[in-house]
């Protein structure tokens, strides 16, 4: 049930993001969602793609420091309060969210949130118990 997210170390220099996304594009890797955390010197670019294994390989080949991380995706019909409910469920179980980012499906009906939490297994179990839709990796990869 885990989505394979790619994390890439990037120096804060002009053109780096264009270079990374360019490498992915040339290799036919399609990006689903992007998030970047940065300071003045460096950042971590996190992406969800259609083919994580391929993305990992081509970036590694291009000498980037890369890692694959298991994350969870949850999906909502786009309505106010949906995300707050899901986060409350996690909070009630003392599961902390390290970071998250969101994107919307092509048709615009579903909002997806990528979550990196302290315990993936517990999070999935409790979210499902409380009827939050945990999205299968294939749904994201094959969008």
């Amino acid at each position: 049930m885990f989505i394979k997210q790619i994390s890439i170390f990037v120096e804060n220099q002009p053109g780096r993001l264009a270079e990374i996304t360019g490498i992915l594009g040339q290799n036919g890797v399609d990006i689903r969602a992007v998030s970047i955390a940065d300071t003045t010197d460096f950042g971590i670019l996190r992406i969800v793609v259609d083919n994580p294994k391929k993305a990992y390989e081509v970036l590694k080949e291009a000498d980037f420091t890369v890692t694959l991380t298991d994350v969870i995706a949850i999906g909502f019909e786009d309505r106010p309060g949906g995300l707050a409910e899901a986060l409350n469920v996690l909070e009630s179980q003392k599961i902390s969210v390290e970071y998250m980012y969101a994107f919307i499906s092509r048709e615009g009906k579903t909002a997806y949130v990528i979550l990196r939490v302290s315990s993936n297994e517990d999070a999935i179990r409790i979210l499902q118990e409380k009827n939050v839709r945990v999205v299968a990796p294939e749904e994201i990869y094959n969008m």
Partner: protein
Amino acid sequence: METMSRKQTEELQLEHLKQVVSHCYNNVPFYHQRLDEAGVTPEKIKTLSDVQYIPFTTKEDIRDNYPYGLFAVPMKKIVRIHASSGTTGKPTVVGYTRKDLDTWSELIARLVTAAGCTEEDVAQICFGYGLFTGALGLHYGLEKIGAAVVPISSGNTKKQLMVMKDFGTTTIISTPSYALYMGEQARELGYKKEDFKLRIGLFGSEGSSVEMRSQIEELWGLLATDNYGLSEVMGPGVSGDCHLREGMHIAEDHFLTELIDPKTGTVLPVGETGELVITTLTKEGIPLLRYRTKDITRFNTEPCGCGRTSMRMDKIKGRTDDMLKIRGVNVFPTQIESVLMNIEKIGPHYELIVRRDGYMDTLEVKVEVIDGSLLERYRELERLQADIRENLKSVLGIICKVTLAEPKSITRYEGKAKRIVDLRNQ
């Protein structure tokens, strides 16, 4: 020679010292004038410590007499000429007589034997052949002991690795930074440790820390030894590690070594750290009196476990030129290297950038992030940065800016690494 008593060594040195001072005085106008001015004519040399009355010779003196002004024999006696790289002006030119070359080969033979090489070894010389003394110096000494020499020269790492594997190279001769780089490349190209038969590394031409040495050993599974020399006094062969690696044995029958305070020129007692000064005792082509090497080291006269009685010198701690003065604190790049080599998750390459920010000197230490596991959490990267900063602070006493860079973003060198960028005078 290598097991002589202290007294025998000193008697031999004194005899040679008298000869070399006469040789310089009688055959090199520059020295004739210098020694006259200082009032130290050859007959005034009665004891070894009288050497301290002789004025120093510097690299500038050799340059001022470019190209052959300091040669002490007629050109017909010179059989080889080498020169330093001359990155900062005219090169320093040195000439060897037949006897000088024999001595050189003999000293290298000693050095490589002390490191453990035998006639069974296949020795790949990855130093650039040419005017530089490193390659040819090692070449003839290794041939002398009967090793099979592979004179591949520097560069073309892929070919180096192919030859290393296919020829069954057992001994590698290079700078420590190139050995590290080749090891990295070997891994990347899919070679395994078992593909190679390397057992001994003879590293020289630049300094390295004990930590860097361990890293090279781990990469290659070899015994890494250091040797020291400089083209002005001969080239490699002045001193080198025995297999115990507790200081480099100095070839005292050919070189008289002193340590001085680089600022005052005062001779320092054994045990203190200072600039190495060398007088060549037997050289014919271009004998040098009290040559200032600008290399910082320390002597050790304790007997070595290997049985050799010669005085030993520590790994070069730095160069008087390389010593960075940052906010009044003396910083040697090797100190920084020692800290960095002990930190996991970063690569072995680094760059030091010194700037002047208003009236403040700042030191930036740039390292490469190589371990993907750091990317799980942002604070792991921040923690790494803080760890490096703290470790450097405890060793150097100053706070540095630590920059995390992408893999391969720091320039690699096939010869001597240039790791310092000083922007203060720009």
